[in-house]
Symmetry: D3
Subunit: 283 residues, 6 copies
């Protein structure tokens, strides 16, 4: 397991279990990997780095320990940070609203950096996976669940509408509006099988270990492909999610006008003809 | 079954089978609950009222009688109202088109009020559920089917493209474009199992009675949650359906900048810690 | 099998196996129906003609021969056309990019004409169905697979992001983002069953013959309906895919303000009452 | 001055100073035509009626009396209605926000009905024209100022961002962003000449009387044209404001596919050839 | 005056009055350059060719003769083509609407090709410039008027809303909504000075001759710049017109990621340092 | 001149010439205030800080020295950074394009932070104001020019389309498309008078000194208003620029549902009644 030595964080472990693959683990197992502010600042920073790191072509995200991917926001820490009360500095509703708006924007932006990471991210849901766990998972490209994953869009049970991305992204990720509203209004848990049936995850493995292994294998497979092709595919699929077909076609053509000039096309074609494994320059 | 005494309508029964739950029944069973103009005007009015009624936090919609949710537009009545012929006042194509445009806008708007109702709406499809039944169902947040539901996007069989919402909303509700076009081009019926498999409904119950009971139970569960959280969740999910992820995140933050200042957050957190059922102020 | 005599093409067979039904076959079986530039120019031309042909109300697309729907781009031909190298005329990156942009636009536009064809198109995936096969299939309204269909979004394996429509349209066609990214990043094949489960196809038949028959039957059924109703339904569903619900409702009303003035409405209603098969004027 | 007898309102006078022309006057001169809630409810109702009234083809809006078009919101009345305080029913920030949201939506919607009125509306700004006066004026199609018009986007001076439409519409109405922000941030008054130079109004007349006369003459001229053509022009220009050019072209074609079938086209062409004044059927 | 020998058209003259400059003249002076269907088909074809012609970097459009830029649609010809009556093939309103829709789409698309032409187009308005003249002018990048230009959005006077682009594009071209609606509702003529004041044209010259000369000079100046830079600027400004600032920035970055790799950047920089005139490769 | 002590930067001076007003000066006069990478990183950082600084309610931006606002990008420095050559790390076109894309994104984002700064920004254009000067100026809310301002969208003269915002924002800032394309295609300078006439600036002062004074006075006036009202106005006007009217109205209502609960409304109303200057809490 090589390198990635620049990734020293208090609450995350970042390793490289294979060529061009990074594994990010949320590392606060004693608290079910619950997040406080410093954690999401670190989280954003990690995915910014991975995004431009030429040693990385695919990323796997999971939680440290056996119990949880993440139990979501560490409510106690949030209370101490004074955020839930609106920053505390003022009693004026508009000023509290402004403080909260800035706080939510910062929080959203940190999590969104995983979505904007240029490299594909595979998220493994295992154990407790509620609240923020779902916000994070919807930012990933591919979702895999372990059999013991306990998933719920939990925010309604703490008196608020989920605001770090679950409601913004679930309708883009799952084509079953009736199910989405059911789980979001009730905060009820849903099983890996249910998640698979509706398309929230695309695979279920027996336990965390096998799920992480499957994710790493998939990441390895992706890391063997042309990074120009893979990263273009991520960009264009994310663009497609938010635009009309006509807009997508135009954007795609502009994108590929530069990208198909890459040596990767020739290398990949040649590799196909010679049935050898191609080697691509770093990106 | 309490109150909701303000809801006196010729063609709908509105009752309250449990705390903060409203049950709306289409009440023209002798005509398979088929709609004429007065009915959709009433329909719009009911959901406008429910939207702001502090006694209501979740709504169930079903049809009176055993035979039908609704058989759709009462074509005979529509013919008598002269609408299909373009209002009759003029023979000029442009003037007929104008009359028809106004008529369709009014009809659409009445049905859309269920979608815009701030409280979640659960729709129970049972018996004959064709044409307008599907337009209405796609406006609901959650769809449940009884085993006897006979569903079809029937409009092609009367020579027109469905214009009260089925075509506008089905692609947002179901992530299976091939299936949608199949049922919309052919007007063929589809079974509850098929509807469940593609995600048009999220649950199938053995008969109308059990389906309505399941819907009321689900409504009851939702009604027990913070109304600030639930109604925000509905608003933000509907916004997400029609906007990009970036737009959604920004709108969500602005929304929650006010909403997380609610007492409901503290009450819900406290209730979570003390494992008691919270009580929320009306909304 | 009548007429359609105006459709003489070097690489496509166009026949009429039943009233108002056209069958388009990609006819280069010796090369697994792989495409070169002349073929997509013909392809675009055919669907332009079908779009306005009053003898046609529904179209089926399949590949000639037993081996392939299509193996996608004929890479050798493309290399000879000099396109992959950027047109060859200049060594300047910007000028190559401009040549490639124009080339991709032309290619996209030819394939898109099938989507913009006013008549419904049913695509039968059978045998080798990779790369461009998926671009084409996502332009169809309804997708049916034969059991032997070997499908893959293959472009990553030739070093590029798919640019003729797969990435632009898959998120509109299938409501399972995790699956889409899995198959697009890895270029792995997926089975007809998998395609059915995620909603990429809406039906699987035992072999090519039965799949084409099923498609023709479905086309025949659609061709028996009012063409005003069916073609309006296609237009409005495609519009719905790319717009918000409010936009869709307004566009729908404007569309139908003209269309429900059609004689087809009266004919269809009368046919419903008299239980006779209606006959509609050509469109 | 004929008819329009159905327009009996407490705070508005509606007359018909010429064929197919309606003149709406805000009639609360003793309070500088300042608005309270009943007034905007009436305002919305009037423009709904005018929209479908076949006797009306163009509308002029002005204020009664010599002093003001309107001084905007009647703050004292708003305070008594309890709105500024958030409806009063609850002390909870989220519940107050909900009450305010509903109140603002209702207020906005009433004013917006003038914009959505199918007939062109010409607004005459004269005397005091501040706050809500600008919200209303931006809903009009054409703006004319009298020399004595005292205009200002005044809301910042009462501690809030204008929320009834000025900020939503000014950037669509005037192509001078630097000027818009200057007058909106400072709440400073601007002169008719300044308004003309930046394009907020398209004409300045010496006094109220001449401005109203000019507006009525313009309305008369418009009322003499084909109502199919004029009302289509309004619809399509408003659509163009909010959509891309490609969207506009498509919408325009769909709209005109019905509308150019009108007799008005033949009548107008014939009138052009014979140099006679055409007479068009009511709409 | 060199080459451009491939441009042989019945109703247009295409010359090259200077290096990389094309001059297109509408050549039906005997009929005030009024358009019939063959003319707009030719018009679209010409701009398609110019778009990819490496000998052309800037285009000027004017009318042949002294009397008119163009008097718009040749109504008599249109009547003979049967279009205004809806194609004639059917009496059914829906079928006529379909024929008209196809006709308008084709007409719009031909004119739009000037907008989509990759090279800048400067339009000289002179003499009679009404109806279609304005549709065409709004497709140009830069508009110059001769003092004798007689301009009007004339369509309302023939009983229809302008449908070939004036209403779709005027709000994008001129930031003065009140003026736009005035001239579109009344069909009144407006003077070159008025056009200059509101920004419809950016320059007025004393007569046709001087206006065409000024346009050719401007075209010559543009043609001396890097074609990569100029054509990118056109593309990005047209994109900006129809998208949000955030969308524009992203699209711009993707575009320039290829384009700034051009040799033109180095040549232009070097030319700036050495104060010599750069020479750029064809595009 | 008080405080703002936290703003220590190598290339910018940040002072507070009056209550709640910040003055930012680009401080590299020896090089005509031309930018290199460290400068735009500092620039972004400054506006991030100002955005949340409770001591600041309005900002003025100008250049240090008498010669230039800014001469734009320091091309020599950019060449040394290796950016124009695509980062240098790879010869592959796709990899260069990726490096350039990241570079442009970072550059754009730093400049955009001025636009996203919650406080109004007034930009004073004086002396040399070309290239990046215009990109920056279009991010400001209000533009003022000194008589000696020499302005040009200069990028075409260095062989590229402007990519830091001029092309993205000019069509939103100025409603005169013909003029925009003229100055962007030719890179010609335009005078302050011309800028005023088309609305690029809203005021011209005789020299830099008077222009900065006018800007500071205007900033002072804005700083005296309720910061809740002013900052809401900026947010809502920027939202309006990029959205439809209907979207704007909804967003406005959600925004104000929190903001009109502010004490500022009461203070401002009371101040209006008592004709005293209100004092608002910091924001």
């Amino acid at each position: 397991m090589t390198s990635l030595t620049n990734y020293k964080y208090a609450h995350f472990i970042v390793t490289s279990p294979g060529p061009y693959v990074a594994h990010v683990e949320i590392n606060r197992a004693s608290k079910l990997n619950a997040f406080h502010r410093n954690m999401w600042l670190e989280f954003g920073d990690i995915f910014d780095k991975l995004s431009h790191d030429p040693e990385v072509r695919a990323v796997v995200l999971s939680g440290a320990g056996d119990k949880a991917f993440t139990a979501g926001l560490d409510v106690k820490a949030a209370a101490e940070e004074g955020v839930i009360a609106g920053g505390g500095a003022s009693e004026d509703v508009a000023r509290k609203a402004t403080a909260l708006k800035r706080y939510i924007f910062e929080f959203q932006e940190c999590i969104t950096r995983m979505e904007k990471c240029e490299k594909p991210v595979i998220c493994v849901l295992h154990g407790v996976s509620i609240g923020l766990a779902i916000d994070i998972a919807t930012c990933a490209d591919i979702r895999i669940a372990a059999q013991n994953a306990h998933m719920a869009v939990k925010e309604v049970d703490v008196g608020l509408a989920a605001d770090i991305g679950s409601l913004a992204r679930l309708p883009k990720v799952v084509g079953n509006s009736s199910w989405i509203k059911d789980v979001c209004f009730t905060a009820r848990p849903f099983s890996p099988e249910e998640a698979l049936a509706v398309g929230f995850v695309s695979r279920v493995l027996p336990d965390k270990k096998s799920a992480v292994e499957a994710a790493l294998q998939l990441a390895g497979k992706i890391a063997g492909k042309s990074p120009v092709a893979v990263q273009g595919t991520k960009e264009l699929l994310n663009h497609a999610r938010d635009h009309s077909v006509d807009e997508n076609l135009r954007y795609t053509a502009i994108w590929n006008a530069a990208m198909v000039q890459s040596e990767d096309v020739k290398k990949a074609l040649m590799a196909g003809l010679t049935r050898k494994t191609p080697t691509f320059e770093k990106l």
